[in-house]
Amino acid sequence: MHKIEADVQLSLLEENRKYAGENREFLREHGVVAFNLMGATGSGKTMLIEKTADLVSDKLKIGAILGDVAGDDDFKRVTKHGVKAKMVNTGKECHLDAHFIHHAVEEFADVDVLFMENVGNLVCPVDFDLGEDYRVVVVSVTEGDDVIRKHPEIFRLADAILINKISLADAVGCDVDIMLRDARRLNAKAPVIKMDLKNDIGVENWLEWFFDAVERAKKYKSV
């Protein structure tokens, strides 16, 4: 027996990059605009899909890939709002990855917009490109006003930051201005939208950004 040394250069993220590229190419070919929805459990990701579908379904066909640890609750919810949905149970995995949703993506050639609802957490999903056009982070005031500062990467790399459940801010002692300031400090480009999905606050600001984002992305897709 003797020892050998292999000098290598192997990225652990390479496989994900490859599949993300394939997903992105597929979505581009079919003119589908994709949004990777991230945020903690219960922040309002599914409700954002429901609300958006209700308000845009006369103009756009909406699809959703729902990543969840277990269960089909989100699937049942969005289906009721006319969304074409596919559930992917991640089991122990704490995030979606590009390979995991590869086949699911191929079922959405016929939609205009594809929401990819990531697994509920603010840490793991950030490093796994799914092939999306935009990364949207939904954070709620009930997570505490220091939540943005504690998870800088996901907010730094977001294309839109939604601060949800603002009607509950006083009740839970959350200073929304702190959240706004922290978001701005990390990310100068993304719009930071204060909203309350349950009480229809801020929804028009979200829609304004959403329609604009869809239009911009459509321009570099073939359809």
């Binding site: 020892k3 050998i4 990225s11 652990l12 840490v123 490093d127 990467e153 730094r156 400090r185 990390l186």
Partner: protein, 107 residues
């Protein structure tokens, strides 16, 4: 856990290509912006490598820091943020990859 799994799969693939009987040591560079806890990665690697030829191999983690710098005044920072005091946009380069650099084996 997915990083440890992917780490092991890549290590075993190289080991097999080289006809190795045992993996002794692995050197991996981890970008600090991945926010991976080295102890946790080491622990997960130990768990997933059990029962494979990489069991009990030593894992050396080299942390790679990003370059965080103002694009206008050139001031450097330790942690990422958007806008420098001078009003310039702060750019963040690197610190986001995880790369295996060396694998020591017995053949």
């Amino acid at each position: 856990m997915s990083f440890a799994q992917s780490l092991l799969e890549n290590v075993l693939r190289v080991a097999e290509e080289k006809g190795a009987k045992k993996v002794k040591r692995v050197v991996v560079e981890i970008g600090t912006l991945l926010m991976l806890n080295p102890e946790q990665l080491t622990f997960c690697y130990e768990v997933v490598s059990k029962g494979t030829i990489a069991e009990n191999s030593e894992l050396n983690i080299v942390e790679i820091k990003p370059k965080i710098r103002c694009s206008v005044c050139g001031k450097e920072f330790d942690a990422p943020f958007a806008i420098c005091d001078c009003g310039g946009v702060v750019t963040v380069e690197g610190g986001k990859d995880a790369v295996i650099r060396k694998i020591e084996m017995e053949v």
